[in-house]
């Protein structure tokens, strides 16, 4: 393939009768005489000139690229998060470089390094998993956004997952449920750990309440199977806390498949409150995470750090709230 011809700043300079460096100054806001600036901008407009990002990155201190590490884009949680991150980045004139589960951690890291990202918004950290540590080792500024890591030397933002677990437990216990189950999120994720811990503690403190747990890995299919098994057991639970909304949908669907009425025979509480959950056909009682704010604060922490690398690390915890809808009720 032949490189298609592109207008460069040299050609703009020639046509405007100035030095190439003057074109650069006009575009980057250096001091230029008004008349000169006008002449240059006229030629820029004439060709709709767009300076090469590759050349800029090569010479400049920043690439304007921010890596965003997620996992499965088809989990409805992530598009909401990515969109919010993208919006904030775009407001600041930054671009997003997406790393998903289409590639391995190894490949993702290599890509972000080759692309020279200025920083990374890491949303899917897992304890005992080296990717986040390796990134930091390569000197890439990073914010842990949504999922966090204990004692990790970086800025972090997350929802108050402890309160999330407590709110879910308190709600189900207050309704009178005692045979309770929990479908956990991905092992090693801070969100699952914190929600599980808080939920367990609250249930354990209640006379006569029993808790069964299953691993749902934040995955629809895994959770569906886990709930199917729970409902088929000798003493099925009357209430279920799922660590995210997607697993709660799986629970609702598995219950429907098993002929178990929600909420009459089974109460279900999720966690996230993605838009789907408000649909009449779903109408899920869930703990709302402030997703937009998590994204915005995450990006802002990262940008602050790019400005001031020596700032002490910050760790923001954002409030959650229980959203009551129609998937919970007192036990039969």
């Amino acid at each position: 393939m032949v490189r298609r011809p592109t207008v460069t700043s040299v050609q703009i300079a020639r046509e405007a009768g100035v030095a190439q460096s003057t074109v650069s100054r006009v575009l980057n806001g250096g001091s230029v005489a008004p008349e000169t600036r006008r002449r240059v901008l006229d030629v820029v407009a004439k060709y709709d000139f767009q300076p090469s990002q590759a050349a800029r990155n090569l010479v400049g201190a920043r690439s304007g690229l921010i890596g965003v590490v997620i996992r499965d884009l088809t989990n409805p949680f992530y598009p909401v998060l990515v969109k919010a991150v993208e919006r904030v980045l775009h407001e600041r004139g930054l671009r997003l470089s997406l790393v998903t589960d289409v590639m391995s951690d190894e490949e993702g890291l290599a890509l972000l390094r080759r692309e020279g990202v200025d920083g990374v918004v890491f949303t899917s950290a897992i304890e005992q998993e080296p990717l986040a540590h390796r990134m930091l080792g390569h000197g890439i500024p990073m914010v842990l956004c949504h999922r966090t890591l204990r004692d990790f030397p970086a800025d972090q933002v997350e929802a108050d997952n402890t309160t999330a677990g407590e709110l879910a437990a308190a709600h189900l216990l207050d309704l009178g449920h005692r045979r309770i189950a929990m479908v956990r999120g991905l092992a090693g994720s801070s969100t699952a750990q914190q929600r599980a811990l808080a939920f367990r503690r609250k249930v354990a403190a209640t006379e006569g309440a029993t808790l069964t747990e299953a691993d749902g890995a934040y995955d629809y299919a895994t959770a569906y199977e886990a709930v199917r098994a729970l409902l088929a057991s000798a003493e099925p639970p009357t209430a279920l806390f799922c660590h995210n909304d997607v697993m709660a949908y799986a629970a609702l669907n598995a219950a429907a498949a098993a002929g178990v009425a929600v909420p009459a025979e089974l109460s279900v509480v999720g966690c996230d409150d993605v838009p789907l959950s408000a649909w009449e056909r779903i109408d899920l009682t869930t703990v709302r995470q402030p997703l937009e704010r998590i994204a915005r604060v995450g990006v802002e922490l990262l940008l602050d750090r790019l400005e001031s690398p020596d700032l002490p690390h910050r760790h923001e915890v954002l409030p959650v709230e229980l959203v009551l809808r129609s998937t919970t009720a007192p036990p039969a």
Copy 2:
């Protein structure tokens, strides 16, 4: 911010005792003596060297970047499409540069030009809208993927939307419905136009059948309101064809809100068949588009064109199928 120090090919060369161009040859598969190659690769491995993509882009004929233009990432249709596109690109060693509705068309085009994308997968073409034409005008190779444009000089792939409209109409008519409504997709989109035309034709050919139309713009909220209005009319339809699944979900939810039983009082057919539609709580009868194949064929058409710019334009139409689930039944 200070540029953080990065290992370059010059340093690799020095440490391996070879010329910098030899390092480049090792990495890009030029002819190098096995012993030399080994020495270089040892040093590359020692530092986990990643060559700068910016420098590569600046000098090379290709950037390895493919623009992917979508609109709303939170419409569950797009994550599926983007993921499929990303997977194919990754198999070919290419990266994706995402343009969404977070930015204007103007900004998106400027970005793709600055980034020097090798080509663009355009998924959201609209008739009477200049973005696709302007891209082509800038000499950017392009494939119209999913939505197409009449007489547009580029490769195109789409589902057989005419058959989609016919299948939906035939199904509802066969069930005995005569008071039928259609919620149209975005005006100017080929998908909405083709589906509408075929559906109308089929209904018009049926004695006694009437068709009411509403604009849903492929948007949940718009469709919800449209269906609410339809159901509140003096002679509400007994069957509904929505031009995509998201609008069908809106219809199901609006029906639930209005106390209209589906399918007893209202049959609903969608179009897409995204994973959600198979959920027990939704269980939507819909026309399946081969999304993965649309994405794969789209990327392949584009890559073929990058290899051979003078190939005649191809236009692929992929088959659809009706997926019967529980949102349709004979009228009461």
